[in-house]
Symmetry: C2
Subunit: 251 residues, 2 copies
């Protein structure tokens, strides 16, 4: 079976969390909205969104897997996980991986809202004042709290390489993407706080070094970070440009 | 087995989505942070949050079920679902229910952020100006979009009583709570938009009428909406007080 992934073609966004899982799995998939021709492109995606599917997605990404149409990033990942060895087989292991993924999802919303605190339908330029305030609070309170949490999970046992221990799950792949995105969006804040999350940095490096991921990151299938997506680099929202102070220690 | 639910004792919040599922199931549970005595109260909750659990929750609610410690509301619900007949047994049915639940979770974040668009660590009074802007955008764009989506799901077949059809799932219970919360928070906007979501109103009434839920809602176990939780009533954020206009039609 060839999966069909539907997501906006010009940004990594939430689609990238699914893409990383498919790439690590070596699973064949079509990135439908990025293809041209009949039944492809954005029109094909919009057709599903505005159509009469039995399980309509609220928003991209969504995945077609045979007769299934699955929406919500974390839900897609928990569907793919057991099929491709990206999650333990035990119920406890699957629940814990999903719990981590949902916490990553919460984090991603907060990262996005640093540049869109008022509305996703307004431009950044129309909510810049509010964005400065929200980004400032985010860097001070939320970034250290989230990174501290995941660093703590990685630090539970000295030999732990991945969030669950010795074994990679889809949550590690998503965590890699979040770390890469944060370094793109907030280079100053992330640099000055880096000493507080050595294990997350190691995890990021570990994922980059996996053969399939390394090949993928070099390919044209990978969409780079840009200022249309979740992770955006606006220097005025980053730490030092505003206050000269670094973010606080993770709690 | 007696479940142990951990959540802030003074607000319905996200804990209520779990409570509704447990109540509908008739499952025995302890609402740990609302109890007094040894091993109870907020200190017991904080102890888990700051302790060294193998699967630490990022935030409440979390559920102890035997040896399992499960965090993230939607994750707890998908754990409880198959144990208590609150989700279909098929994989497709479980995925679809969870997809709906995660969309409800996204909606809940946006509802919360109408009164806290800048930071959860600041008081409402410290972000009132931004809250007005965000609430205005929410009532204009997001509320109709989300309610229109769920109304559309309910409207797929004329005889559909619940989101999945003839059978109640945990997502219906959560949807009830969201509708009740929205009517508390935005009575003017919800009243003027009510004609656009008759099926969601019927669903809300249907849930209220279920014997176990009806008994629960009358009991002291139910925590009423208040201005410390997700759903808050600030008249200045509701529709008519600001512009006199109703929210737009769901798209």
């Amino acid at each position: 079976m060839i999966y069909e992934l539907y997501y906006w073609p010009s940004i990594p966004g939430r689609g990238e969390f699914v893409r990383l899982a498919l790439e690590e799995a070596g699973a064949p998939y079509l990135d439908v909205a990025r293809r041209s021709g009949k039944g492809s492109g954005i029109p094909a995606m919009v057709r599903v969104l505005s159509g009469r599917a039995a399980t309509p997605p609220f928003a991209p990404p969504f995945l077609k897997a045979g007769r299934l149409l699955i929406g919500q990033t974390a839900n897609i990942l928990q569907f793919l996980g057991p099929r491709h060895g990206l999650v333990p087989t035990s119920e406890a292991g699957r629940l814990w991986t999903h719990q981590l993924q949902l916490t990553i999802a919460d984090f991603v919303v907060e990262i996005h809202d640093t540049h869109h605190p008022i509305s996703g339908t307004l431009y950044y330029g129309d909510q810049k004042t509010e964005a400065r305030r929200r980004a400032s609070a985010f860097l001070k309170d939320r970034l250290p709290k989230y990174l501290g949490y995941f660093e703590g999970v990685l630090g539970q046992y000295p030999a732990r390489r991945f969030l669950l221990g010795s074994r990679l799950t889809y949550a590690d792949l998503s965590m890699f993407q979040v770390m890469a995105g944060l370094r793109f969006a907030f280079p100053v804040a992330m640099h000055s706080a880096a000493r507080h999350f050595p294990r997350l940095s190691s995890l990021q490096a570990e994922i980059v070094g996996r053969p399939r991921i390394a090949a993928y990151l070099k390919s044209s299938r990978r969409i780079g970070f840009n200022n249309e997506g979740i992770f955006r680099h606006y220097p005025e929202l980053d730490a030092a440009r505003r206050s000269g102070r670094s973010v606080s220690k993770p709690t």
